[in-house]
């Protein structure tokens, strides 16, 4: 006996439904995170190898070879990655969102959560790992250029990558999820646009460091722009509330029936919440 579920897929009694039908690609998420971590650990190793040896004098030919080439690579790679992913997402968008089946929407929400996880993971490398490393370097080594060994990885590698992934999550949400395509979500916009603004704010940072703040104090006002735009990451709390609202008010009642809350609190089940 065959039946058609709400996702529009045909199932037979012989077909075994995957237990994790709602999230078919967590492996891809962990793979993406592993690739991101590997890329940054390799660049961290490169910093260790070439930082003190070739990264102290920007006028030296070795600096041009070992560091400026990494700078060009980071920018070119992230630009190509962004254009590729965004183009793919836009060209393959759902053109009939009105008739999206509830189960398919659940799957897409979990994919969205997976992309957000990769985005936040990339923000971690930029905002924590390489950002405080920048303090360790610049409070010890005197700078003679904006393109220092720590900046090339932080500002021109880690920052562009999380911007690419942030916009990817935004484009995915707008082209595949009803709650983000019908109207524009301000929390999601802030969660992506706010951290993005750290990059333009870099202009102020470098301008200040070039003209008056030659020494490095991390708590100086010249860095407060990074702080304020960093606060907007809190808007992911709003994104969480949007998704939970969608589950509770529409998807769960539609898929599991109006009494779905009783199922969640069934104490007889070992999976009871």
């Amino acid at each position: 006996m065959a039946s058609l579920d709400t996702a529009g897929t045909v199932e037979t009694s012989k077909t075994k439904t995957p237990k994790m039908w709602f999230w078919t690609s967590p492996g891809k998420m962990f793979l993406a995170m592993a690739v991101i971590a590997s890329g940054w650990l390799i660049q961290r190793w490169y910093q260790q190898w070439a930082g003190w040896e070739f990264g102290m004098d920007s006028t030296h030919p070795d600096f041009q070879f070992y560091w400026m080439n990494l700078f060009y690579f980071n920018l070119a790679f992230t630009a190509a990655l962004g254009i590729g992913i965004w183009s793919y997402l836009w060209l393959t968008r759902d053109r009939d969102m009105v008739n999206l089946a509830p189960r398919e929407e659940v799957k897409r929400i979990f994919n969205f959560v997976g992309i957000l996880t990769c985005y936040v993971f990339a923000v971690y490398w930029a905002g924590s790992f390489f950002a405080e490393q920048d303090a360790a370097w610049h409070q010890v080594a005197i700078r003679d250029t904006s393109f220092t060994p720590s900046h090339i990885v932080l500002f021109y590698g880690a920052f562009p990558l999380y911007i690419v992934l942030g916009i990817t999550s935004y484009v995915y949400a707008m082209t595949r999820l009803p709650i983000y395509s019908r109207r524009i979500s301000i929390p999601l916009t802030m969660a992506v646009a706010g951290p993005f603004m750290l990059m333009p704010n870099l202009g102020f940072n470098e301008w200040g460091h070039a003209f008056w703040a030659f020494e490095e104090i991390f708590t100086a006002p010249i860095h407060y722009g990074f702080v304020i735009f960093g606060w907007t990451a809190l808007a992911l709390g709003g994104v969480l509330m949007e998704v939970v609202n969608r589950f509770v008010n529409y998807l769960f009642p539609t898929i599991y029936g109006k009494d779905f809350a009783k199922e969640l609190t069934d104490k007889k089940s070992p999976m009871s919440l």
Partner: protein, 273 residues
């Protein structure tokens, strides 16, 4: 397979399936929250109180004691709103500070020690976990933002210095160096030169700092407690703001199959504001 009115078959629509889905969603969100805190809270911390936290000789009794709790009660207050008001979870503050300390230790090891070659005795981060536990406890027991701000916020500020004293005490011991009296922390700071950092000790150790008989810290802690109460209330509201479900019209909606005009119910329920 039987198909219910809601479109779910007997297996996919079961309570166990729903509980499993909810549990996986919880894990995914937990991963995002942890990394988000390690990124955003760490950026906030390093650029507002970072220098005091980086170096042992910056951990003075005047500004370190005041500034650190005041600026680090921010994210805990905002996350307490998100976690408590929406999910009744009473561990937001502790989670924030745990994530922060974890992120800090990663960079103190990989950057400050392994790349800038500073000893751990010089770059260990402060902890606010004791105050965070009390903050969570007060919220859990009272369930009231105002009470938490007054009693929890005050405790958060007051407990900072005694909470760190077991780590700091050894570095506050006096030492005679070529006829000059200084603390062990000062001596470490003089020994490991930070070429590109202003000398904090020459800025701070002047005026009437010693007029409390060497015990300026309690006065600073009380001032910090006062400011923490105010800061907690401000950031509770900021957390509330970032969770607001605000949307604006999407001019690109026709590209996803929607009509030009918005309809009251386009296949789902409206978001709960």
């Amino acid at each position: 397979m039987a198909v219910s009115e809601s479109g779910s078959d007997s297996k996919l629509g079961s309570g166990a399936d729903l509980r499993f889905l909810s549990r996986i969603f919880d894990f995914a969100v937990a991963l995002i929250v942890l990394m988000l805190l390690m990124a955003a809270f760490h950026v906030h911390a390093m650029l507002t109180i970072g220098d005091w936290d980086f170096w042992v000789d910056w951990k003075d009794e005047r500004f370190w004691v005041v500034i650190t709790p005041v600026l680090l009660i921010t994210f805990p207050a905002a996350f307490q709103y998100i976690f408590w008001e929406n999910f009744r979870l009473p561990f937001a503050a502790t989670l924030c500070l745990l994530a922060l300390v974890l992120a800090e230790w990663i960079t103190r090891v990989t950057a400050f020690n392994m790349w800038a070659y500073m000893p751990f005795s010089m770059v260990w981060p402060a902890t606010l976990i004791p105050g965070a536990i009390v903050l969570d406890l007060v919220l859990m027991l009272t369930g009231n933002m105002l009470m938490t701000a007054i009693f929890g916020g005050m405790a958060f500020g007051l407990m900072f210095y005694p909470g760190n004293w077991p780590m700091l005490a050894a570095f506050m011991q006096p030492v005679d160096v070529h006829g000059s009296l200084m603390s062990v922390a000062d001596q470490i700071g003089y020994t490991y030169t930070r070429t590109s950092t202003p000398e904090y000790l020459r800025i701070i150790n002047r005026g009437t700092l010693r007029t409390f008989g060497g015990s300026a810290a309690p006065v600073s802690a009380f001032f910090s407690a006062f400011l923490c109460i105010i800061m907690y209330m401000i950031w509770w509201q900021i957390g509330k703001f970032f969770c607001k479900l605000i949307t604006i019209p999407n001019v690109l909606r026709t590209h996803m199959g929607y009509g030009q005009e918005e309809k009251p119910n386009e296949g789902d329920l409206p978001l709960k504001a």
